[in-house]
Symmetry: C2
Subunit: 456 residues, 2 copies
């Protein structure tokens, strides 16, 4: 029995083939006088396979009309050099079998659809050129993440999704429960014997493993129950969080900058076809912007100096800035796009605007935090050196009104063989948006969860 | 400045080195007359680095007592051929700096600890030989999963964690909510406008992507709110679920069997040191059992024939068996270990004990389901061909009392360009237990979640 060959391999053939079997879907059909053209895909790559269906095939007229957009077909034929422009091969069909029809009600007819409509048919949209490309790139980017860390002797850790601690008070939490929400029941009767939530970060758990295996990373789903309907926020998203023992803020910035560049380089190389498509149809200038980041070294600037630059820029910002405030996206973009004209890393942020676990600097004012900023997006990575001094950490917990008991296991890392250590977080979807130019986070997630939306 | 070298690279050195910098933790110290031995680790590998600390180092007597079990140290020295047995290299220290002390209260003193105690100090246990090994192997196994599917042109899909559907009625669900559980509030006021849960499987969502990209897989956390306290059940665990378009049950079994063997082979190769440790200290006979599976072809047997074999075996089982019932672990193990003496795949199960989405066989009695069974464990993979015929699927939904409206998106896959497709699920932790011989699932998960336990 003939074995199916994926279109990506058919198109990569080095010589003509007498008999090839392909199985997939018709993107569109064009009928000529005594034959038909099929644009055929199986989702393995962006480019479709051109298929010539000769009119002399048995019963041609009885089934050719079923080979419409969306129909699934099995085609056997010979691969021959293409007569057409822009393609090397075409398939001369010897037999065509319709597997599953798609009638005129098929929502993905060959025409332009709005992003909103495509979100309503999120179960069908990966069959489109755009979303097929997004999710192939998403898959390759995930592999690149694992390759990057494995090459550098990092171990991958699955930190818990259900947690009883709220980590850093990083935002609103989803409650996880088996109690009937229509009844009033004490949480000690709940499944885990206490209130539990969906994690907002695996960092604290990752720290325990860095303090044992040296270099580790997490890559898993994280959650925010914030009621914000923006193009950049989702309730469920994936995050990458490396954590390194015996690593200070300088080493942390080194790794983060190398990581950003590696992912750009990998995506340009492994997804050239999709990237050209995004550059042409989604975000003109995308490839140039990515190459711009690749070609330049990251400049590093202390938060204090960055704020000075912004204050003296003469720019009028929507959010006025002063020392001690968080940088907004517009400030970040001004710094990287206009002032430095290169990707930058801002470090040493004011203590007051950062979480309890960041390492206090000697100036008494700042902590060893850093953010990596890129054009078009602003912050793409945020990280810090962690406070490894027992007494300092304990005083931070107190200052943040956090219970020493709840964090006793975390504090233990400073009690027994404490080491300087650092890490950072990168939002996987945000990186994917930066790489593809897709501007709405709902369109880079298979089935996005946002306030009011948990469909499919 | 000298750069830190990981112990795994130090031990792999091909020649002696004048100056090496290592940073990590003391496992134990032994004092001789005018020098000390340190057993030193940084978690990068199982084997420790032997360090000789000469008594003539400056102020030796003032700090050597701080180099006890658990202390973190920075050591510079020269790598020289070892005098001792069973090791190639040792480090002759030229300077030793204590970074973080660990006093006598350090819970991981060098002695045997019970598994229960180790679970109480889950934040420290990865520093031990056993748990360091488990989590290094866990990390490599995750990489092997991604490699296996990438080599075969599968795309990795992140299916949703929060879901409004209960998939297959696969068990008890955790509710995800932002409502105050102490108040009685209607669920239409909840964050997503309806009741939502933690996913029990990504399969249905993966099917939508297989029907677009052909070969896909998920690898993510899944959840069961079952109140069962066994050594094999956790409330949160990771699952791998491939899904293939244009693939029937035979192709599904082919892939599952190849997958099991590939993961065994990969682990034996990439984790030889840890595997020898498990074979010696955790599960004598482990390597032999794994090799046994590797060396044998999988036999395939229909459920009906498997039950006949069991009924005629003369064995007395704890759970008596008859046609139409699920196989229990004892039955599965008898089949693979005693009767067939090889790994086996049981297929064509009774329709009545399987979920609605499995493809009905022509006999009207069975569905195209399959389970892969291995010695010591029983079922390690479960899968099926999916029902791709619109009318048959709709009748299954009705028979299972499921709402056609809730599943309309799933049914759409059969309405538009439907294709035969198949897939399976493998519990990542169960595979890890099979590979390491560790018998309690709590001990292969960084921070396990079980009824009453959501600590750290």
């Amino acid at each position: 029995m003939l074995k199916r060959v994926l279109v990506k391999h058919v198109l990569g053939a080095t010589e003509a083939m007498d008999t090839v079997l392909v199985e997939g879907w018709v993107r569109s059909r064009r009928d000529a006088k005594d034959f038909s053209f099929l644009d055929f895909t199986d989702g393995s790559c962006l480019t479709g396979l051109q298929v010539i269906v000769p009119g002399e095939l048995p019963d041609y007229s009885s089934w050719i009309n079923q080979c419409g957009t969306g129909a699934s077909v099995r085609i056997q034929g010979s691969l021959i050099p293409s007569q057409g422009q822009g393609q090397r091969w075409e398939l001369q069909a010897a037999s065509v079998e319709v597997i599953g029809k798609a009638d005129a009600t098929y929502p993905l007819q060959k025409k332009r659809h709005s992003p909103e409509f495509m979100r309503e048919i999120a179960h069908l949209r990966p069959r489109s050129n755009l979303f097929g490309s997004v999710f192939r790139v998403r898959s390759r980017l995930a592999q690149a993440v694992h390759r990057f860390f494995t090459e550098r002797d990092f171990y991958y850790i699955h930190t818990p999704i259900i947690t009883a601690s709220d980590c850093e008070g990083a935002g609103e939490l989803f409650r996880v429960t088996t109690l009937d929400p229509s009844k009033k029941i004490d949480s000690s009767a709940d499944f885990f014997g206490k209130p539990t939530y969906l994690t907002v970060s695996g960092q604290l758990a990752a720290e325990t493993f860095a303090c044992a295996l040296s270099n580790v990373y997490t890559f898993g789903p994280t959650f925010r129950a914030e009621n914000s309907n923006t193009t950049r926020h989702a309730s469920e998203f994936w995050m990458i969080e490396p954590e390194m023992a015996f690593c200070d803020l300088g080493g942390d910035m080194d790794l983060a900058e190398a990581f950003v560049k590696d992912l750009i380089r990998d995506t340009l190389e492994t997804s050239a076809e999709e990237m050209a498509f995004f550059d042409r149809f989604v975000d003109k200038g995308l490839l140039e912007r990515l190459q711009w980041v690749l070609d330049r070294s990251f400049e590093r600037v202390a938060y204090h100096d960055a704020v000075e630059i912004l204050l003296q820029s003469g720019q009028s910002f929507e959010y006025p800035l002063q020392h001690g405030l968080n940088l907004q996206s517009e400030h970040e973009r001004y710094l990287t796009e206009t002032h430095f004209k290169c990707p930058i890393t801002v470090y040493n942020y004011p203590k007051a605007i950062k979480p309890f676990y960041m390492r206090a600097n000697d100036d008494g004012e700042t902590v060893a935090a850093m953010d990596v900023l890129v054009p078009g997006i602003g912050e793409i990575v945020g990280g810090s050196q962690r406070e490894e001094r027992l007494e300092v950490l304990e005083s931070h917990l107190k200052a943040h009104d956090l219970s020493a008991e709840d964090y006793s296991w975390y504090v233990d890392l400073r009690r027994f063989g404490s080491v300087p250590h650092s890490g950072f977080g990168m939002g996987f979807e945000r990186m994917l948006m930066f790489l593809t130019g897709v501007s709405n986070i709902r369109d880079v997630i298979p089935f996005a969860r946002t306030p009011g939306h948990a469909d499919f």
